[in-house]
Each structure stands twice: as structure tokens, then as C-alpha cells.
């Protein structure tokens, strides 16, 4: 029941290799089936995202023995030379494989620390493998644990709480002023890449209305079409600012596009309803002194980058708390694993003892000729009772052992002493 993990990720493999070793859902299903059909693994799960491809399994033999087989399979399945794969793949076994998965679910292994998407991807990969019967009791328990770890890290730490991009920071700040954006209007000046990122983020956060204004009408319409926005003619500030709550500017211009006076007039017309402005232009699109206008909140690219940097540091400071949650669940999983092992061990020991008892009694009782069948059965029952009593005591003590390391050591010692040379369950 040893767990094996063979995989590669953004740290170990360049994009060209990751592309070649990624799995579609259908490929994942097929690979899982083949790994089990070939007798390499008893249970399998393939996790494939843009940053990683990993195969989790329960080894039929020992984990270390089956890992090379899984590696060759991956090389063959994706037609990638072993030399290329060899330097990119990592192998983890048991405790290390469990820790790797739990850290990954919590966003600790992601390119962007604490990102949330990975938990959904783990959930989806598990659901898919479970539906196709690729997982069994061990991987079910392992992945349920991973989902719990991910959820706890999200709710109990701030690892994923703060925005990590300029666009996300700006939109989150708008939410600090307006709360939900669903009944708000955002005006975007410019239709470049940065504007597009912000528009996507605003849409993602459910902004009510989106207006786009650009010098090139064509670009504005293209952006508006993609994100369900409305185009406003360039320069019609009065109309646009009257209805907008969030203003995003990213226009290439040598002079500020929005002078303070325009904003002052707009604020008068709006009855001083709050206006949040993200000035992402360089040079700035909004006159610097506009930040003094009552109820106008202006953030430029430096302000937002500073916030992102602060948030990155805040996330990093949460890593120890997240790691302690991971360790707690690794311990829980290993304890469960040891208990399951123990049940198997006791079952094997009992079978072994019965077998020995059978041959031993047959030889001894045959030499005592005068015993009736009833007496022979009575002796067998008595011996069974004694043996059961001898087994139960240590088994209960082992089950009750609180220290995980000792429990695992004892289970292994018992197996080595009494069942060495025999197949593992």
C-alpha cells in the first residue's frame, strides 16, 4: 500500500517539455487504465494542469520498484525520450508524496504563491478518476485529505486572500469603496493589453456595466465586443463620468488626458458620488492634483505595484501557518495508513498462526492414538483461543499507540519478524 508519485512541474521542466507530457481528460483516463492493466499500480490518478503533470498511484510492489516502470510508461505514452524526461521528472514516495500533494492543494507549490485555481483542478482530477474507477481506498482518502488541506489553508490563512496583480489589486480596491460591483459602472479609457486585463478582472468580479472609450474606435469596439461592454465616443467625458463609479485609464499620451478641472466638474455633476480611478498610464493620464478632489480616489501604477509587493510579502509570511496545516494532515493520513496496515498485518499474522497451528497439531495429535474426534476439536479450539489471546493484546497496544513514528516502526518490525519472505497484502 505504498504511494508513489511521478511527475514534473514548472520548476523541473521547461514549457516545451510540459507541453509534451500534458494529459487531456481522455488521455488521463487511458493512461490510468493502462498503468493498472500492466500491473504497475493498483490505484491511479493523473493530475495535469498548465504547470504540472503528475501520476499518483498505489504501488503493487514497493513504490521504489514501480517508479521506473511508471517513468518508462510516461516516456512511451507521450513519445518523449527517456533522456529528456529523466532530467525533468521527480519521484516521491509515501510521506513525501503525501506532503507534496497537500502542499500543492494549498497553493504552496504554485508559480504564484497561494493561487486558488489549483484546488479546483485537484478536485476535478479526483472527481474524474473516481468516476472512472481509477482510485481506490488509499487514493480516495489521500485526495479527500488534499481537498480538506486546500480548503483549510484558504479559510484559515491569508495565503490567497490578497490580490497579486495590478489589475486584481485595483479591482479589489474598488470593492473596498463600493462593496459589490454588480450595480456599478466602470469606464475604461484605452484598449491596450493592460486595459484588457482590467476589463477581464472587472467582468470576473461581476461589474454591472462596462464602458470603453478609445481614440481608435475600432480597437474600442473589438474590446467591447469581447467583454460585453458599450463603446463611448472619445472625449465625451461629461456623459461617461456622470454615470461611472470606476475609472480605468491606460492611454499613451504625453499630457494628462483628464485634468483636475474636468474631474471637478464631473464630481459636481455627480453630486460628489465617490469615484475610484486607476491610472495605469505612463506618463500618468490623470493630473496628479486630481487626487485632492473630494470623494475621488486616484491610484497610479506605482501605488498599485506597491500594494502588490506588500501583498506578496504578506502571503509569504503566511507560509509557516499553511505548512503547519499541511504537516497536521500528513500526520493524520499516515496514521490512518498505519492503522489500515495494522489491520492487514493482524489478518496475515492470524492466517500464518492458523497455518502453523494446523500442521503442528496434526503431527502431534496423530501420535496420540486414543483421542476421539470431539476431544481433538476441543484441543484445537483451546489452542486457537490461546493463540488469539496472544495476538489480540499486542494488536490492541499497537492500535492504541499514539506516536505515529513508533506505530509505523512497530508494524514494520512485526511484518519483518513474522512475515518476512511472504507477500505483502
Amino acid at each position: 500500500m505504498e504511494i508513489v508519485l511521478v511527475g514534473l512541474n514548472h520548476r523541473t521542466a521547461p514549457l516545451e517539455v510540459r507541453e509534451r507530457v500534458s494529459f487531456t481528460a481522455e488521455q488521463a483516463r487511458r493512461a490510468s487504465g493502462e498503468l493498472r492493466a500492466r500491473g504497475l499500480l493498483e490505484e491511479t490518478l493523473v493530475l495535469s494542469t498548465c504547470n504540472r503533470s503528475e501520476v499518483y498511484g498505489v504501488a503493487r510492489e514497493t513504490a521504489r520498484e514501480c517508479a521506473p516502470g511508471v517513468t518508462s510508461f510516461l516516456s512511451e505514452f507521450h513519445s518523449v525520450g527517456a533522456d529528456i524526461l529523466g532530467s525533468s521528472l521527480y519521484h516521491h514516495y509515501d510521506r513525501h508524496a503525501v506532503r507534496h500533494l497537500f502542499r500543492l492543494s494549498g497553493g504552496l507549490d504554485s508559480m504564484m504563491l497561494g493561487e486558488a485555481e489549483i484546488l479546483g483542478q485537484v478536485r476535478e482530477a479526483y472527481r474524474f478518476a473516481h468516476e472512472h474507477g481509477a482510485t481506490g481506498p488509499v487514493l480516495n482518502r489521500l485526495f479527500q485529505g488534499a481537498l480538506e488541506v486546500g480548503k483549510r489553508i484558504r479559510t484559515e490563512t491569508e495565503l490567497g486572500a490578497r490580490p497579486m496583480s495590478v489589475a486584481a489589486a485595483g479591482v479589489k480596491l474598488a470593492e473596498r469603496i463600493f462593496g459589490k460591483l454588480s450595480d456599478r459602472t466602470a469606464l475604461v479609457l484605452g484598449a491596450g493589453t493592460i486595459s484588457e486585463q482590467v476589463v477581464a478582472m472587472l467582468r470576473h468580479r461581476g461589474v454591472g456595466n462596462l464602458l470603453v472609450m478609445n481614440r481608435s474606435q475600432e480597437h474600442a469596439e473589438s474590446l467591447a465586443q469581447r467583454f460585453g461592454a458599450r463603446v463611448i465616443e472619445w472625449g465625451r467625458w461629461e456623459d461617461a463620468l456622470l454615470v461611472s463609479d470606476v475609472l480605468v485609464t491606460s492611454v499613451a499620451a504625453n499630457q494628462p488626458v483628464l485634468p483636475k478641472s474636468v474631474l471637478e466638474m464631473a464630481m459636481n455633476a455627480r453630486g460628489n458620488r465617490a469615484l475610484f480611478a486607476m491610472d495605469l498610464g505612463l506618463p500618468r493620464n490623470i493630473e496628479a492634483t486630481a487626487a485632492d478632489v473630494y470623494n475621488v480616489y486616484v491610484y497610479n501604477i506605482d501605488d498599485l505595484s506597491g500594494i502588490v509587493q506588500q501583498n506578496r510579502e504578506a502571503r509569504e509570511s503566511e507560509v509557516p501557518r499553511a505548512e503547519s496545516i499541511v504537516e497536521e494532515h500528513v500526520g493524520k493520513f499516515l496514521s490512518w495508513q498505519a492503522s489500515v496496515e495494522l489491520v492487514g498485518l493482524v489478518r496475515d499474522l492470524r492466517a500464518r498462526v492458523r497455518e502453523e497451528r494446523g500442521s503442528f497439531l496434526r503431527a502431534r495429535l496423530d501420535s496420540i492414538g486414543h483421542l476421539t474426534e470431539g476431544q481433538r476439536q476441543e484441543i484445537e479450539t483451546l489452542v486457537d483461543d490461546v493463540l488469539e489471546k496472544l495476538l489480540i493484546g499486542p494488536a490492541e497496544r499497537l492500535r492504541g499507540e499514539r506516536e505515529l513514528r513508533r506505530k509505523i516502526q512497530n508494524v514494520e518490525a512485526l511484518r519483518d519478524l513474522f512475515l518476512s519472505g511472504r507477500e505483502k497484502p
Partner: protein, 270 residues
């Protein structure tokens, strides 16, 4: 066991406060839920503590200064909890609970006055007092919320992103919370004042005799009505309205202290 409810209330409010603070700093939703549950528990035990105290002194809670303070704390907690549930926002709790706990402790740990039994004032008087204290509790809540608004507004205007910014409610929500609280206060004080005049009429046969307390109460009513209108419809919305709300509460405190102690003929503790 004597003072059982006293200890239970102190325990519930203190733990609730600790949980609200934990929520504010860690963002853990579980801490927030625990804080709300403990506040609700504190409200129940506080009610029984009020009852226990009133029975012990053979009088109504608002017959003396400490009783009025305790009732004020209870109504403040009740108003806050109502708004918390209504607006689904818990991060203000850490700022309100110290006041609730403070009023409760000051009222119940202070030596009780030796009181003569309460004259039978009747239900009109009881509603007049209770509604007035409820109004002041609601105004106190709007004061706390307005202070938080100004702090959050300052952070956002100055682009200083302390960790607290991400934990506190949005400015919009703080405004709504303050307006809702003031509305509760306005309705309560309006009804409470009318009941007060009715009670005076029954007692003396005339609706009005000059008492500075009447003047300041009407001023308070007017100022809060002004805030309520200005905060949502005009150029005053935002920080200016919050400052007005804070100023209004200063007038309330004046009404409680200077007017009650030195000028009023008929109001001592509320």
C-alpha cells in the same frame, strides 16, 4: 449561585470581543461565527443580569445611573447584532464590543446606589425611557461606524494599505450601516419623545413645560435627521457626513452629561 449571570455575561462578551478581534486580524470566518454566537449568548445572560439586578434593588433598571448604563449597553449590543445579521458584516464587532463590555462592567461592578422603591410610572413611561435609551445606543453605534469610516477613508485616500484595509467593510457598507443605525435611533427617539410628552401631560395636565432637556433632544433629533438626509443625497456624502455624525454624537454626550446633571429638572440618567 449569586451573580451567575453577571459572570456569564462578562465571559460571553469578553470571548466574543476576542473572537471579533481574531476575525479582524486573521480573517477566519469561524472566528466571526463564534463571535456572533457568543454575542447572542451575552445578550441573553445580560438580560437576566439586568433582571437579577432590578429584582435585587426592587426597582427598574433605568432608575439609577448604573442601571441605565447597563440597559444602554444591552440595547447597543442588540442594535449592533441586528445590523450585523441584516448587513452580513462582522468586522465592526471588534470596535463595538469594548463599549458594550465597558458599560456592562461599569454598571454591574460599581457599588449599587441605595434606592427607594420606584414610583409606579406605568408602561408609557417605561416605553419612553427604553426607546430613548435605544435611540442613544443606536446613535452610539453610528458614531463608532462613522469613526471606522473616517479611518478606512483616510487609508484609501492616502493610498496607505495597512492590512486592516482588506478586513474592514467597504465605505459603502459602513455608510449604509451608519444610516441604518441612525434611522433606528431617529424612529426610537421620535416615538420615545412623543411618549414622554404624553406621560408629562398625564402627570401634570400640560404637554410642555420648559426643560433644557427638551430643547437638546429636539436639537439631537434635528441634527440626526439632517445627517440622514445629507448622507445619501447631497455633496455631503462620504467623509463630511461621517464627521457630522460624530459631531451629532458629541451633542448627545453633552445632553447626557452637562444637561442631565446641571440643567434638566426631570431627566437624570437618560
Amino acid at each position: 449561585m449569586p451573580h451567575l449571570f453577571l459572570f456569564l455575561t462578562i465571559l460571553a462578551y469578553s470571548l466574543s470581543l476576542a473572537s471579533y478581534v481574531r476575525l479582524l486580524y486573521s480573517g477566519r470566518e469561524t472566528a466571526g461565527r463564534i463571535a456572533t454566537a457568543l454575542l447572542a449568548l451575552g445578550l441573553i445572560t445580560h438580560y437576566f443580569a439586568l433582571l437579577e439586578r432590578a429584582r435585587g434593588l426592587h426597582t427598574v433598571p433605568y432608575h439609577d445611573l448604573y442601571g441605565s448604563m447597563s440597559l444602554f449597553g444591552w440595547l447597543l449590543a442588540l442594535t449592533y447584532l441586528t445590523l450585523e445579521v441584516y448587513l452580513r458584516q462582522r468586522s465592526v464587532g471588534a470596535f463595538v464590543l469594548p463599549f458594550v463590555l465597558g458599560f456592562f462592567l461599569a454598571a454591574h461592578l460599581a457599588p449599587a446606589d441605595r434606592l427607594s422603591p420606584t414610583p409606579a410610572h406605568g408602561p408609557v413611561f417605561a416605553f419612553h425611557v427604553t426607546l430613548s435609551i435605544l435611540a442613544y445606543a443606536a446613535f452610539a453605534l453610528s458614531f463608532v461606524v462613522s469613526l471606522i469610516f473616517l479611518v478606512q477613508n483616510r487609508f484609501l485616500r492616502n493610498r496607505k494599505m495597512a492590512g486592516l484595509v482588506w478586513r474592514l467593510p467597504s465605505l459603502e457598507l459602513l455608510e449604509r450601516m451608519s444610516r441604518a443605525s441612525v434611522l433606528i435611533g431617529l424612529i426610537s427617539i421620535a416615538i420615545g419623545t412623543v411618549l414622554g410628552f404624553i406621560w408629562v401631560d398625564r402627570l401634570t395636565g400640560q404637554y410642555w413645560y420648559y426643560d433644557p432637556k427638551y430643547v437638546i433632544t429636539l436639537l439631537v433629533l434635528l441634527l440626526y435627521a439632517m445627517y440622514w438626509l445629507l448622507a445619501r443625497t447631497t455633496a455631503w456624502r462620504g467623509a463630511r457626513a461621517s464627521r457630522l455624525c460624530i459631531f451629532n454624537f458629541v451633542v448627545v454626550v453633552l445632553s447626557f452629561t452637562v444637561v442631565n446633571l446641571y440643567l434638566s429638572h426631570s431627566h437624570r440618567y437618560f
